[in-house]
């Protein structure tokens, strides 16, 4: 990881942590219980985006091909 990327990542994590703290002072209107817990959107967003990257990467390893399609 380059130094610039590391700095950006740390800044984003710090911002996320700050907003999670702010989230604990807000009244939530939960629909399923867990979605009303402080910081839920942060860890769920991390998991959701990470799962998307992992699945896309795996699918790309299987299905991605170089070049153009022959009939394009």
């Amino acid at each position: 990881m380059t130094a610039t990327r590391l700095k950006i990542l740390l800044a984003l994590v710090a911002l996320l942590a700050l907003l999670v703290v702010a989230d604990s002072f807000v009244t939530h209107h939960a629909s399923f219980g867990i979605d009303g817990t402080p910081g839920f959107a942060a860890w769920f967003g991390l998991l959701g985006a990470a799962a998307a990257v992992v699945i896309a990467y795996g699918w790309g390893r299987l299905m991605r091909r170089p070049g153009e399609r022959v009939d394009d």
Partner: protein, 559 residues
């Protein structure tokens, strides 16, 4: 007031203008190209809401113009897409594209206002023809043919389903139904094919990027969203739509994340976002249907804007591959801002139209206690930000420039993009505008502190993953195999292998044919010789042949 307008429909205005357009030149042509969509949009709002006028035709009660609230929402969305698309593409030199784009937009309006199955099918087919011609007008015959064939299949399925429905129910009225018979499944399949439903989604990313820089803007707006409207009218609450919509959302996300070409990425993203709408239609409550309609409206706005930004880049650089672009924020600042606003609206950033409509969809899922779909679509929504809010702008707009900008977007193109930015941010800041269109969403918490914070946390979390997983998300040249491999690549692989076997078979067949031919010649000569001497045939032989002929006749009659 309906009597004042009579049968005048927004569809008629656009289709007639599209037919007249090739007869005009220069300023007159451009004037009509712009004036017709404006007039059609005005008529969408001038038409009073009501059941429409029924016309008796061949014993069927047709309602070609049924202006209800859903028709008004979709008519507005299609109208805005046509107006901004025409403004954006006014400098397009292809008269064929302009004419067919108007006919295509008119067909979409026809579907929006159709009050019966026959009218729906007629406009459905005009829609397919118009969109095919928009692709063909850019000179890509093969892609246009593939697109036409897949829509012929969709049209046949829909026609078979409608025929079965008319035969069974005895009427052509459009009414909510369940996919509980073969005929209705055929109808549902035909509609879903047009919606880009998985597994037949590949045509969207195959065809749309083959259109011109302006044609793709029209294509991104009409076909899939018209299908969503028909699903709302015919299959609200159909349980199968829940998993079909989710499959579309996941498919769109994964393929867009892998894609290198901007316009293909946006096409995959269309499938993904239509998946959200299809899930909402599957829920089927009044809130869910209103949310699906509003998401279609918001999606038409931001996807048109994104396609315009992509078209501007293509027109300026001749390039749409992320791996060959970069640094466009400096050389094309207006386009860059448009792309960012469109992308952030798709990612449902607060204060954009996409935030309002996506919040309404999730609220509808929560209201219906559809727990699994709520969590799944929330995760997909976070993932969508990766490709549209981060990957696309990062590699196209920032970093080192890798493509030369030869053309600045024309003023009309900037005006269209600016108008769409206002239409995205306006309802985002003042959701009450959308609530007037769809009062069902009035109770949905949108601009509340906890909801805004929820969404911002999701987007920042996705940004952390983007930076952390940077090497995995680098755009790479190439393509991702899809279900269309079965009819695009497989025959090319199979045919050469079987060619030698086919050659042998052909030789054997020709030998057999030669033998048969010789046998036939001999038989014919012998028969002719004997016929000339028919008078000398023995009576027993004549009786035998007469009996044989009679037996063959009886057998055929019995069959």
């Amino acid at each position: 007031m309906t009597e004042t307008f009579g049968p005048l429909s927004p569809a008629v205005i656009l289709i007639v203008a599209g037919l007249l357009l090739p007869l005009l030149k220069g300023g007159l042509r451009n004037g009509l190209f712009l004036a017709a969509p404006v007039a059609a949009l005005a008529l969408v709002w001038a038409l009073p809401l009501g059941p429409g006028i029924a016309i008796d035709w061949l014993g069927m009660q047709l309602v070609p113009l049924a202006p209800d609230r859903m028709a008004r929402i979709f008519g507005t969305a299609f109208g805005i897409a046509a107006v901004t698309g025409a403004l954006y593409g006014i400098s397009q030199s292809s008269g064929l594209e302009k004419a067919t784009a108007l006919i295509y937009a008119g067909a979409a309006q026809g579907i929006a206002f159709a009050g019966d199955l026959v009218t729906l099918f007629v406009f459905w087919e005009i829609l397919a023809i118009g969109s095919t011609l928009v692709i063909w007008s850019n000179g890509n015959a093969r892609a246009g043919l593939r697109y036409a064939l897949i829509h012929v299949l969709g049209g046949v399925l829909l026609l078979a389903g409608i025929s079965a429905e008319i035969a069974g129910a005895g009427g052509v009225a459009m009414h909510p139904m369940r996919a509980d018979s073969i005929g209705r499944w055929l109808m549902l399949s035909g509609i879903l094919l047009n919606a880009g439903a998985f597994p037949l989604s590949a045509w969207v990313a195959d065809a749309y990027p083959k259109a011109s820089w302006s044609g793709a803007v029209f294509l991104s707006a009409f076909t899939t969203k018209a299908a969503v409207l028909v699903l709302i009218r015919l299959f609200p609450g159909e349980p199968a739509l829940l998993w079909i919509g989710l499959a579309m959302a996941v498919y769109g996300l994964i393929y867009a994340l892998l894609e290198n070409d901007i316009r293909k990425l946006l096409s995959y993203s269309i499938v993904g976002q239509v998946g959200f709408m299809v899930v909402a239609v599957g829920v089927g409550t009044p809130l869910a249907l209103a949310a699906a309609a509003l998401h279609a409206l918001a999606h038409i706005l931001y996807k048109s804007l994104l396609m315009m930004a992509a078209g501007s880049i293509l027109r300026a650089t001749g390039e749409t591959r992320l791996s060959a672009l970069g640094g466009l924020a400096r050389s094309m600042p207006f386009t860059a801002v448009a792309m960012l606003i469109g992308g952030l609206s798709l990612a449902a950033l607060p204060l954009t139209a996409g935030f309002v409509s996506k919040s309404a969809i999730l609220a509808a899922l929560a209201e219906d206690q559809a727990r699994f779909y709520w969590f799944a679509l929330s995760a997909v929504s976070a993932g969508s930000f990766l490709y549209i809010g981060l990957k696309l702008p990062w590699f196209a707009l920032f970093g080192a420039p890798r493509a030369t900008v030869a053309l600045e977007p024309a003023t009309s193109m900037k005006a269209a993009m600016g108008l769409l930015c206002v239409l995205i941010l306006g309802p985002g800041c003042f959701p009450g505008w959308l609530m007037e269109l769809a009062p069902e969403i009035a109770g949905v918490p949108i601009l509340t502190i906890d909801h805004i914070l929820f969404q911002i946390l999701m987007l920042i979390a996705a940004s952390c993953i983007f930076v952390g997983a940077w090497p995995l998300l680098q755009p790479k040249a190439g393509f991702t195999l899809d279900v269309d491999w079965l009819w695009r690549e497989l025959p090319r692989l199979v045919v050469p292998r079987w060619r030698s076997n086919l050659d042998k078979l052909r030789l054997s067949l020709s030998a057999v044919g030669e033998g048969l031919s010789q046998g036939w010649s001999a038989f014919r000569e012998e028969t002719l010789r004997r016929l000339t001497l028919a008078g000398n045939w023995p009576t027993g032989q004549i009786a035998f042949w007469a009996t044989a002929l009679l037996a063959i006749y009886v057998l055929i009659a019995a069959l």
